[in-house]
């Protein structure tokens, strides 16, 4: 039994299937090829006019066959694609999936296109909510209703892929993807299930979404004319993140369950931890204490030593504050050895996929271990002397990687860290 349990006697959790969509493409192969080539998926926004906006670029996903071009429409199409890819890889067919679904759900709501459509339906009532309500009352809009319910994507995925029990939709803002994995890990560790499907999707680049992040001064306003150069994590000239879209799905199983059905094991999830921050709605504690706690607890939970971490998949958003805070916190935990530990930010190429980021970066982390190749941090031309890290600048690097720390931080004081391993034991 020992091989099936970890250092704390809990079931060992392994990954047996993965799927991904980002602005770099559809599917793991296309994403990995582009990611390791240092290609950027960031481009001028074509989905809607950006005339007069201070940020006119994003990592939108424009190649999905979505039922409606809206946040819920695109998010569902991507989640459906990545779930299918992950389940195929894991070898789960039409008989359904033997565990629950944990889904990091994007923010969805009625969009302006819907409001404009509703206003046209009737002449009754003053233009405003009176008109919108009169229009909705006059004509039932079931599809519009279903799209904007926050549980809809998970309910639809659960039904289509036959996951067990009540699917769970969750949000911890930009840490959501990591939280979805955390839920799956905990469910298997508690013995509630032998398998868990963890997915995340975010297709919420709308005009209003872009403007809202702009108003918080979170987005870079540079490089509107050279979009591929806009996301510059850890560089001295970084100036904000690039809003992006994407999705990932991972199939988690207990090692015992995966072996019993002869599944191919892609890697293990060794540890996970979170810590909430009460400092500010959008900023981290200046002393980094909550992030430091999350990183330390994740490493402890994994039962590994700091020296075992041979690569860090950074949160690395490219905002002045995040990247400095992430470095300071890592330095506090790792000491000077952090200067020799390779760390890169996938967001330099795919931008910040918000709700989906933690899950997409988990998929890329497992690929890093499987392929022995670390994806670069691109656009690293002007090192920041305050952040002396080996960011794997601009070019991929071949390296034996067996243990990875992955960081995810979000608005609302959300900090979640994961430790992945290549080997089962």
């Amino acid at each position: 039994m020992a091989k099936y349990t970890d250092h704390l006697g809990r079931p060992v959790v392994v990954v047996t299937g993965m799927g991904v969509v980002s602005s770099l493409g559809r599917g793991i192969d296309e994403n990995w090829k582009n990611l390791t080539s240092g290609k950027s998926g960031i481009h001028k926004v074509k989905r809607f006019s950006t005339e007069g906006l201070s940020t006119r670029i994003a990592g939108t996903v424009d190649f999905m066959d979505a039922e409606e071009i809206s946040a819920p429409g695109i998010s569902y199409a991507m989640a459906d694609a990545t779930t299918e890819e992950a389940l195929d890889m894991a070898g789960f067919g039409k008989d359904g999936f033997p565990g629950p679904l944990f889904f990091a759900a994007p923010p969805v709501e009625l969009e302006w296109q819907h409001r404009f459509d509703l206003v046209k339906e009737t002449e009754e009532g003053e233009i405003g909510y009176e008109r919108l309500l009169a229009s909705a009352r006059a004509k039932k809009q079931e599809k519009m209703h279903n799209l904007i319910q926050l549980g809809t994507i998970a309910f639809r995925l659960a039904e289509k892929y036959g996951t067990k029990g009540l699917p769970i939709s969750l949000s911890t803002a930009c840490a959501s993807g990591a939280t979805a994995l955390q839920q799956g890990i905990e469910s298997i560790r508690r013995g509630e299930s032998d398998a868990a499907l963890c997915a995340a999707s975010d297709g919420s680049v709308t005009a209003e979404g872009l403007i809202r992040f702009s108003l918080l001064s979170a987005l870079t306003t540079h490089n509107n004319d050279a979009p591929e150069r806009a996301s510059r994590p850890f560089s001295k000239d970084r100036s904000g993140f690039v809003m992006s879209e994407g999705s990932a799905a991972l199939v988690l199983e207990s090692l015992e369950h995966a072996e019993a059905r002869g599944a191919t094991i892609l890697g293990t999830i060794r540890g996970v931890a979170e810590k909430a921050d009460s400092f500010h709605r959008t900023r981290s504690s200046p002393n980094g204490a909550p992030v430091i706690t999350a990183i330390s607890k994740a490493i402890e939970d994994a039962g590994v030593e700091i020296g075992d971490i041979d690569y860090i998949n950074a949160h690395g958003t490219s905002t002045p504050e995040n990247d400095r805070m992430e470095y300071n916190s890592l330095h506090a935990v790792f000491g000077d050895s952090i200067h020799n530990t390779p760390i890169s930010s996938n967001k330099s190429m795919i931008g910040h996929t918000l709700t989906a980021a933690g899950a997409i970066e988990a998929v890329f982390s497992f690929k890093t271990m499987l392929e022995g190749v670390i994806p670069p941090t691109i656009n690293y031309e002007t090192p920041d002397p305050d952040i002396p890290l080996d960011v794997v600048p601009n070019q991929k690097r071949e390296a034996e990687v067996s243990t990875i720390l992955s960081n995810s931080f979000g608005f609302g004081g959300q900090n979640a860290c994961l430790v992945f391993g290549r080997e089962v034991a």
Binding site: G128, L133, H145, L150, P167, I211, E274, F411
Partner: protein
């Protein structure tokens, strides 16, 4: 799964159209006669709303923080404070910094006036898209975004009350509330957590809250009828403003602090699937079998939407008989979606704590037993998702 710990409720923070506070609600309800529901038909006619009561936010939320929130967050943060007070944990830094926070939340609220102004100008213009871009850029308050992020209720609770062990937010309408209770029970029972603050809030006093439900014609427009009476009129739900938070603890943890629990949370079950015929009932049977005790009474989360309400009531009658005491809580406090299940669990805990049950809310409901030792709480989502919880005397 061995060595499951006992889970108890040691704090209740409740705000509804009837007022605020656990004791206030019991005093109002726990008598021979139930109170008259508070329904406002003027906020968004012809639909009624159970409105938020008069609130003095400053009792729980510093002014500088109030400004960073909209009402759904104020309601949640306020009720969370009431629950912490009630459990004797408020300002206990040791307990707060290790306390796990789990919140059920929707999508927040919009700035109605800004939406309306932009809509008017955009519709009047021949370049609608440009008007939209220009006006959103100038009219949106930067902080409003933070009122719209689902996890920012949890974020505000961490900031205001310093609950920082961990923080998770679940979404998905009624199912979010079920997941909150289910997850908290699992984490405490397995020894993963010793004390948690859990719950949700919903602000119904606004047209942007009603609109999504009007789109699918789910709201009742026939006046102030209760959940059962509405069935003769096509059914439908009535939204209600609610803040409902609970402190859940491992029984030994509560005992060591010298705290007497309201009730014991004995089991939770959740599912999603068809409601058709025998298959639907079979799923509910399986859920009920997961619960360790048979109830003496039921606090129902029935919404009034006819298909869902009929499915639930037919099942409960079949299972427990025609004369079983079932109370459709939404008759009294309205549909608060994500907050509905935590609120119903709070009402069940109050009944057990006070060794009584609620007088019928409507003529269709059967008389209460003299005492109850276990109460079932149901959540049959208005569109989909099912949840049960069973509570016992502590």
């Amino acid at each position: 799964m061995a060595d499951q710990k006992e889970v108890v409720i040691t704090g209740i923070g409740l705000v509804s159209s009837h007022g605020e506070g656990a004791e206030h609600h019991w005093n109002l309800f726990g008598k021979d006669q139930s109170p008259e529901p508070v329904v406002n038909l003027d906020i968004v006619p012809p639909y009624g709303v159970h409105p938020m009561p008069e609130m003095d936010w400053a009792n729980q939320i510093p002014r500088k923080d109030q400004r960073q929130m909209e009402n759904w967050q104020r309601l949640g943060t306020y009720s969370a404070g009431l629950a912490l007070d009630d459990a004797g944990i408020k300002e206990n830094e040791d307990l707060l910094s290790s306390m796990d926070l789990v919140v059920a939340a929707g999508g927040g609220e919009r700035d109605v006036e800004t939406d309306e102004n932009i809509l008017k100008d955009a519709i009047a213009s021949n370049d609608r898209e440009q008007v939209l871009l220009d006006r959103l850029s100038t009219d949106l308050r930067p902080t409003l975004f933070l009122a719209q992020l689902s996890n920012l209720l949890a974020g505000n609770i961490s900031i205001v009350h310093k609950v920082t062990g961990s923080s998770r937010t679940y979404m998905g309408e009624e199912s979010a509330g079920v997941t909150v209770i289910n997850n908290a029970m699992a984490r405490i029972a397995s020894g993963q957590s010793t004390h948690m603050l859990i719950g949700g809030s919903y602000n119904a006093d606004r047209p942007d809250a009603l609109l999504p439900h009007v789109l699918a014609h789910y709201l009742y427009d026939g006046g102030k009828d209760g959940v059962h009476a509405r069935q003769k009129n096509g059914g439908g739900m009535r939204l209600g403003s609610v803040g409902a938070f609970l402190v859940l603890e491992e029984a030994g943890h509560a005992k060591a602090r010298g705290v007497k629990p309201y009730a014991k949370l004995s089991g939770v079950a959740a599912d999603l699937g068809t409601r058709d015929g025998d298959k639907g009932f079979a799923r509910l049977d399986t859920m009920l079998e997961k619960l360790p005790v048979t109830p003496d009474a039921i606090v129902s989360g029935a919404t009034g939407v006819s298909d869902a309400t009929r499915f639930e009531m037919d099942y409960l009658k079949k299972k427990f008989g025609d004369d079983f005491p079932v109370r459709a809580m939404q008759t009294q406090i309205g549909q608060s979606l994500e907050a509905n299940f935590p609120a119903c669990v709070a009402f069940a805990a109050l009944a057990l704590h006070n060794n009584g049950f609620y007088a019928p809310f409507e003529p269709d409901e059967k008389p209460a037993p003299d005492s109850v030792s276990s109460v079932l709480v149901t959540s049959i989502g208005h569109v989909c998702s099912e949840g049960f919880a069973v509570l016992e005397k502590a």
